[in-house]
Amino acid sequence: MSLFGMMRTGVSGMSAQATRLGTVADNIANSSTTGYKGANSQFSTLVIPNSGSTYASGGVTSNVVNNISKGGVLQYTTSATDLAVSGNGFFIVQNSSGVPLLTRAGSFVPDGEGRLVNAAGYQLMGYSYENGAPTVTANGFDGLVPITISEASLVASASTGGGLAANLPEAATIVAAGSLPSDNVLASQYSAKTSLVAYDNLGGEVMLDVYMTKTAANTWEVAVFDQSQATPGTYFPYGAGPLATQTLDFDGTTGQLTGLSATDISIPVPDGQNLLLDMSSMSQLTSGFTLFDAFVNGNPPSSIEVVEIGNDGTVYAQYGDGSFRALYRIPLANVQSPDRLQVLPGNVFSQSSDSGKVRIGFPTEGKSGSIVSGALESSNVDIAEELTTMIESQRNYTANSKVFQTGSELMDILVNLKR
Amino acid sequence: MKTTFISSYNTNQSVRTHLMKMQAELIKVEREVVTGRVADAGLALGSRTGFSVSMQRDVERLHTIIDSNALAGSRLDGTQSGLQTVADLAQAYMVTMTAASSGTVQPSIAVAEAKAAITTITGVLNSSLNGENLFAGVNTDVTPINDFFAPGSPARTAMETAFVTHFGFAHTAPAADTVDQAAMDTFLTTIIEPQFMGPDWNTNWSNATDETITARITLNETSAASVSANADGMRRMMMAAASVAVFFEGNLNANARNAVVEHASSMTGQAVSNLGQLQAQTGIIEKRITTASERLQMQIDIFEGKISDLEGVDAYEASTRVSTLLAQIETAYTLTSRIRQLSLVRYLP
């Protein structure tokens, strides 16, 4: 046992409490910082090996741990690009030099180049839809690009698929061969007609006239024309023959298509792709011509009007015609031990050997949680807790100083023994 | 989540729409009370509107026919009284002729009598009503009988010429004295009589047509509505008078004159009988027209009754509806103000 040892122990206690007060100060200072994770001082003993009769005091070492896994309260805002993670995941951001980092601070706004950056200046990363629906690279940052929303870009996509479901009137008059729509003559007759908008490669609208004509009992001819070729006023004859024709055979007893009947029609859209129109839900009953469903995919060229972010992380751009297009998908990252992530300035974390490797997944799909648009995660610091910790630390510090003071006084007595 | 099943808009709107309907109805019923007819016949009757129009049309036509029947009636009245005058004259002339045949009457008196008869008959047959000559047949704008006494009268000339042609001398010539009774009788029967009874009548005497006026006396019944001066009675009477007036003035001997008188008597007798028949026929037509008018009036009453059944509105019922509607509208007003009061807003501080 030694007085020095006791004094050192007191000093180590004081320094540990100073560290703790430091974290408290930090926490209180950042109590309003979006995505801030409170720091927490944990203490551990330093023990000197002792014989049975004497006790040499050891000391205390402090260890600062960040409560990264503890979520903050979500505060709702009115900006669509304010994002919060509801769950365990992290946004992947990069700094200006391109180093990928993790963060929970989601107050993103577009910068001058259209990149989404948060308050600390980090750029949000995501997977692009440029080459089709993205897949995630589970254990690396490969394939991630800064999410850039350039308002000037125009996009279009050609129609490739669609569907038509309708009831064809069983009582329709049979049209004789020679005056069918497919014959494309002025006297062409038809039983029912509808039209659909399809898009060519450049996003131009192509109006398709779909004529349905009863050619015999339970047999219908479907002929598709390009409306731009129509003769004004009469439509027939069209400047060019039908784009596609198909024959539908119905079962006379059920009114549904027979098993052998064609169920779709492949329409070569002028200057566009082949549009496969599904007609498997057509029926032929005694009711009149009734359309149940008709749709064709594809988008006309248009610029971005509004950007919306879904809770699955998909960044949608809404174009002038009201159509939507997914531009990016924001992934969420997670690590085995989030609390052991290395904390860097600007509310960002980087993976360390303690935290484990980064695993990346899409929101709502794994265990990373989902993205909430229009909300921010507030700091997870509780002022009351910090204040009580501060009072406690203050008292502890005082107690440690008393230990040191006592040691010092004992030292005085010891020194004064020799006169 | 919505928990109520009535919207405030509806609460206010439903009273409003019903109020509007009731007000429109009120205007309609008010009009019906005033006119006693449905406000819009076409709307109320639908496919029966044509029936109503047809009956209204018929009522108008029936009224016109009654009017025209009255016209025909007064024409026939005139005709009847004319016929009566001629018939009375015939009776009197008959007496004169009978007396003349027994020789108790001076020839000059017989002539005067005959001339008077001709004047009277001509006057009667030339009588007119409303500017239409009653006995002219359809030729009502011309005087039916030519004046026998006018100089160069074709009738007189024809008779005298016929005498000359038949006997070779004029009846005023001294040789006329030689004509015996039988020759004179033959002359009167074969030459003079056809002049009156045959087509010569229309040349010498009459401008009237045989055809008489036809009138529609009911919706689908027509009837002769006049008597022509060409009727047999008139011709015979005229012949009886004219033969005496012409041949008594000549140089005929007593026997020949006797033949004239006898022939005239016989003619007058036939004329009396003919005129009686004509009077009876006219009477029958008059009766027919009167009955027709009565029937038409009955028909009008029936039609008007039916029209009233179709289009009429019970004034009592209509006025009851007015008061009911008024009460309903007042209730609606009260209701509106009560609904206005009925709001939670009024009870919140």
């Binding site: 309260v73 809404q318 | 239409e132 709001s343």
Partner: protein, 486 residues
Amino acid sequence: MSLSTALGIAQTALLNTQRQTTILSRNLQESANPDYSRRGAMLSTAANGASIVDIRRSTSDVLFRQNLSALSAWSAQDTLLNGLNTLDIDLFGTDNANHPARLLGDLQTALQTYSSSPSNTSVAENAIETARQLVSALNTSSDAIQAYRSNVDREIVTTVKDLNTLLADFQAANNEVVGGSKVGRDVNDALDQRDAILKQISEIVPVSVVKRANNDMMLTTASGITLFETVPRPVTFTPTAGYAAGAAGNSIYIDGVPLAAGSGANTTASGKLTALVQLREDVAGGLQAQLDEVARGLITAFAETDPTAVNPDLAGLFTWPGGPTLPAAGTLENGLAQVISINAAYDSSVGGNPHLLRDGGANGVAYVHNTSGGTSYSDLLLSFDTSIGTPIAFDASAGIAGTISLSAYSTESVSWFSALRQGSSRAADNKSALMMRTAESLSNVTGVNIDEEMSLLLDLEHSYQASAKLVQTVDSMLAALLAAVR
């Protein structure tokens, strides 16, 4: 849990209450708007306090569709009834006073008066004058019908223009709805707007709605013609500049398919356009054909005959440009009522002689009946009255078939039109009642009840007070803590 969390939740609660109050005040503001659907804020519990997840709009698809179809049916019936009433007053006057059937009655009356004093020139003139009025009524009615058809065409043009505008508006609203639905934005205002436009469209054409992904709508007419699919389909109509009797007007084309006209008094038409076509073709066309047949009947009834039956019958008092030959028997002669005229030979104002009506002979001496020249000759006059009542064959294509008299035909025509008007009026009452009823039901489901909103407002007020109290409490607790730090 911590005080900060409590504070955060209280803050969220205040925000929620505010947003709910906003929605509520919007509801109150729009309570008198029939096209507004009540909104309700849907709260959901999140880990850190309730948040508004959705603003729900009260809707009922079934009632809305019923309302749309009732609206279409009523609009058509109303259009038809208005058209019929307009034609009724325009052509025939109050209580059919100007109807040819009435004027024919007047002519018969005048003939009766004439026949009772045939020598009287003034009654003869009166008979001719009455005939002239009849002819003039036929002429002006025909002209009015053709003018009416042109007017209907103009109305169709305006309505088609409205429809195209509405479809364009619909596209804008639909794009907004689809766009918003894809990202879960509040599209309720756009939905309201779209429904309101849809109601207006269904007044013009009957609409059948196909719902697609993302609240997208495809519109077809009841008969399956595409009205709107991503983009509006063109509705086209070329008006006819001037109508000739019997000439059919142009069809209205939607997406190149002609729109069928309605038929019947209780019309099968749905929407204003089909009813307008029905008015133009069936009603106005039918009336015209009947007037033409009446005109033909008149020419035939007053035709001059040769008493010796050697020469053919020729047009008498009433004639036409094809005269003196008579129009073919039993066949509709289109536009005859428009061109029928009084034979100049009878017209004293152009040197004619009205007494020709009594005597015959307008077509030469061979046709003189009054050979004796008697001025009180009435047989021919009486025969005209008879021939008005004599059955002749009428063309079935004019709507009244059979061999009936001209007199009966004219009243049948009155009945035909009145029956149409009566049936239409009754159907309009029914359809209007159904329309009101469905609108009421819909409004009961989607409309705002002020009392309900006010009571909800009380709830919100309490909730707000409680949240504020919470904030206050947390504040005083923190104050106490801070006081402890010296």
